[in-house]
């Protein structure tokens, strides 16, 4: 008799199928362009560009998978790694939704709420960018206005200030060590800035999980 698929099994099956199909489309885009315009990439620019970009972002990408999958859930992962903007949009959106719905990320309810939040966020982002692309001419002066620039530059502090209140108030004891470590690192190491914060996310996660394990074993949590 054929085994009945659980919801989670079906999410993985569909996620894989969509991921492979959309992934192929994205990876074939440069090939299609080369064929359409009859132009091959310039080898020097390609190699120099890849050497400057790929090693760091592939290393970060691999670590990000192991860091973000447990937080995003399965459906959220399959969507987020295709639609991008994970740490600055999809993950905060999912965390907030799970928090308000009072569901755990590791439960099936958490999986469902996270998927709904990330899917809605992906759809809204795509629609806003489509509208923006269509209305680019009238919108450009507004989007590039020097008055509004500081607001767009400060999206991460504005986003994580709110999220921090929720999580630090709920996990006050556990939050002390990672916050002290990260403040010390970011204040004293000049190389740590907006461009490298992504690399520090897995460091922060591993450190906090390690501290949590020790505190849990000692009965402090």
């Amino acid at each position: 008799m054929k085994k009945q698929l659980t919801y989670m099994d079906s999410v993985h099956r569909d996620g894989r199928a969509w991921g492979i199909a959309v992934g192929l489309l994205i990876l074939l885009f440069p090939v299609a362009l080369s064929l359409v315009f009859g132009a091959m990439p310039n080898t020097k620019v390609l190699v120099q560009g890849l050497v400057a970009t790929a090693p760091m972002y592939w290393a970060v990408g691999v670590v990000e998978i192991f860091t973000y999958v447990p937080m995003l859930g399965a459906g959220g992962t399959y969507l987020s790694f295709v639609t991008g903007n994970i740490s600055n949009l999809k993950l905060p959106c999912a965390i907030d939704a799970m928090e308000r719905a009072k569901v755990k990320a590791s439960s099936e309810e958490g999986e469902v709420i996270s998927t709904i939040a990330i899917a809605v966020s992906s759809i809204v982002t795509t629609l806003i960018i489509i509208v923006g692309v269509i209305c680019i001419v009238p919108l450009t002066p507004v989007l590039e206005s020097p008055v509004l620039k500081p607001a767009f530059d400060m999206i991460l502090p504005a986003l994580f200030g709110g999220l921090a209140v929720v999580f630090i108030s709920k996990n006050a004891k556990l939050s002390i060590a990672p916050i002290i470590l990260m403040l010390a690192l970011f204040i004293t190491v000049p190389a740590l800035n907006a461009g490298t914060v992504g690399i520090m996310v897995p460091v922060g996660v591993l450190f906090t999980v390690g501290v949590a394990r020790i505190m849990y074993k000692k009965g402090w949590l």
């Binding site: 969509w18 492979i20 992934g23 903007n85 504005a158 922060g204």
Partner: protein, 244 residues
């Protein structure tokens, strides 16, 4: 076919990929909504998840659009539209495009006219961040399975583990907020702007969160994070005038 960065065929190809990505989002949304019903999650919870996620997304999505406009000067509109609708983020795409433009000895404000240079930039932006799209379909189930096993073995530790992961990520971004405060010692107060913005956002979140609980106002709880985000961003304007 003669190349230009805003050739209609580019928009057609990009449109096809974005339609597929949109299809995937809609498919998973419908699947999760059906499952939510089966699991008995209340329609009020589902509705508030949908509306507050949509509202929360508006400000960051507009910031992403700013990135599209910025990159469109050298790369045309179609490529930034694709790259910022799928996989990447504004920080990555700007760096990847910048690296390729530097290799081509071009400035970020000059439109690329050479098709082979443009192809190189497209390849760099696509391959440079492809780890997620290549690996996720094959490793997600294993990682997820490990998490479920761990949660079943020790439920309390499973919950602490999840909270620790969230806190670890948040602490990294809090650290980033303080990365330029050291400039104050050299007389430059601009490093305090992100700290002030974060403080405004945190206060708004605490006030709205506290009020929504005390007065039992559901909408206030649903929109506390989007409000803290928007008011925090808005506060950056006077703080920049003052400290910048």
């Amino acid at each position: 076919m003669e190349f230009n960065v805003n050739h209609p065929i580019l928009f057609v190809l990009v449109g096809i990929i974005i339609a597929a990505v949109m299809g995937q989002s809609v498919y998973f949304l419908v699947k999760a909504l059906r499952r939510a019903k089966q699991l008995g999650i209340s329609s009020a919870t589902v509705k508030s998840t949908v509306t507050s996620s949509a509202v929360f997304t508006i400000a960051p999505a507009i910031a992403i659009l700013v990135g599209v406009v910025a990159l469109s000067k050298s790369l045309g509109l179609a490529l930034p539209w694709l790259r910022l609708s799928v996989i990447g983020s504004i920080t990555y795409e700007t760096v990847a495009a910048g690296n390729a433009l530097t290799a081509a000895e071009l400035s970020a404000s000059a439109t690329v006219t050479d098709p082979s240079i443009f192809m190189s930039i497209v390849w760099v932006m696509t391959i440079g961040i492809a780890a997620g799209i290549v690996l996720v379909p094959f490793v997600t189930k294993k990682i997820q399975g490990g998490m479920i096993k761990m949660g079943m073995k020790d439920k309390k530790w499973g919950e602490i583990f999840n909270n620790a992961m969230f806190l670890g990520m948040i602490s990294a971004f809090l650290g980033y907020v303080f990365c330029d405060v050291g400039l104050v010692f050299s007389g430059n107060t601009s490093g305090l702007i992100p700290v002030c913005v974060m403080a405004v956002s945190a206060v708004v979140m605490a006030v709205f969160g506290g009020l929504s609980k005390a007065l039992k106002i559901r909408w206030m709880e649903d929109y506390a994070l989007p409000l803290s985000l928007i008011l925090g961003m808005a506060s950056a304007i006077p703080f920049t005038n003052w400290l910048g």
